[in-house]
């Protein structure tokens, strides 16, 4: 474990970089929860639906813990969670739209959730005490998501019909954006590396590639040959785009605003 960073000493670009990192992680968790919830009633079996429902709860819990970290930076998380327009959401691009089929959700569980966990793992071993304290429990809960995703990924990859094709397509579509996000290496990301908050881009990318290599090989994808997306939004720390409006409304809780309890 690294020596702790005194968060109160952060200012200027480093402070902004930490805010960006926390928000992209929190937004990704929140929208991931929505994408899991989309399948709670349409999964291939009751048991799988119950599991996706459980993962939804996990992701939303993790999101709240991450948003709450903003308090230590003097930022009220409430408007961040409930008042931002969709253009400001910094969740990873793979989550921008509902997955049209179960194979897509399996790819999301294995690759997108895996990407978020890769960055969180780096965050948890960095210099930020908040992350050292809060993130390991999230990662422990993520072990179930990883197990379920990998079991389904292997299962669908072993078929020779439409399911395998859909899994392959979803995998190929997601990876470039995920590689760009995990391996973020712009000024803000480098500020975080310099402060020891996360590891270097090459280290994060290696960890992610190692994590997914054997899975994606099952559908004929060589992770070392996949190029990261070239397009990048430095303000939000993600590739261009945004979650669809319905997901943003659900993430903000627009329909339940009158019942909001903080």
């Amino acid at each position: 474990m690294s020596e702790s960073l005194d968060i109160s000493t952060l200012e200027g670009a480093r402070r902004e970089a930490l805010i960006r990192l926390i928000i992209t992680l929190a937004d990704s968790k929140r929208i991931l929860g929505i994408r899991y919830s989309d399948w709670a009633l349409g999964a291939p079996s009751i048991e799988t639906g119950v599991s996706t429902s459980s993962m939804t709860q996990d992701e939303w819990g993790h999101a709240r813990l991450l948003y709450a970290m903003l308090k230590k930076l003097g930022i009220d998380p409430e408007p961040v969670e409930h008042d931002r327009p969709g253009e400001e959401f910094a969740s990873i691009a793979a989550l921008d739209h509902e997955q049209p089929d179960w194979a897509g959700l399996v790819a999301l569980m294995t690759l997108a959730d895996g990407a978020v966990s890769s960055v969180l793992r780096s965050f948890s071993t960095g210099t930020l005490e908040l992350a050292q304290n809060r993130v390991p429990k999230m990662l422990a809960e993520e072990e179930f998501h990883e197990s379920l995703g990998s079991a389904w990924y292997r299962r669908l990859a072993a078929t020779d019909g439409e399911a395998r094709q859909l899994l392959t397509s979803a995998t190929e579509a997601m990876l470039p954006g995920l590689l760009a996000w995990v391996g973020a290496d712009d000024d803000a990301a480098r500020h975080m590396v310099d402060a020891g908050v996360i590891g270097p881009a090459s280290e994060r990318l290696t960890a992610f590639r190692d994590h997914v290599r054997d899975f994606v090989a099952l559908v004929g994808v060589d992770i070392d040959s996949v190029e990261a997306s070239a397009e990048w939004d430095e303000v939000r720390g993600r590739t261009p785009g945004r979650p669809d409006e319905e997901a943003c409304q659900r993430a903000r809780g627009d329909l339940n605003r009158a019942l909001l309890v903080e």
Partner: protein
């Protein structure tokens, strides 16, 4: 894609008897553990385990769930 029945056993506290709380359908041991954990989440279990129903050998009955599972497995 074949699925199998796994029976779910839990104990709430250390020293409690292991009790049968239900079952899940799953395609392998790993998913059975996940489904059991997320389906029977009403308590903070001290211990939970799953047993593939075909691995339960009936001793004195020639009817019931476990006998039927054995019979089906050997068809």
């Amino acid at each position: 894609m074949n699925e199998f029945v796994y029976d779910v056993f839990t104990r709430k506290e250390r020293g409690d008897r292991l009790q049968h709380v239900g079952y899940v359908d799953a395609f392998d041991d790993e998913t059975a553990k996940i489904y059991a954990w997320t389906t029977y989440s009403e308590e903070r279990w001290f211990e939970m385990c799953v047993v593939k129903r075909t691995n339960v050998l009936p001793v004195n009955r020639v009817d019931g769930l476990f006998f039927e599972a054995q019979k089906a497995a050997h068809v």
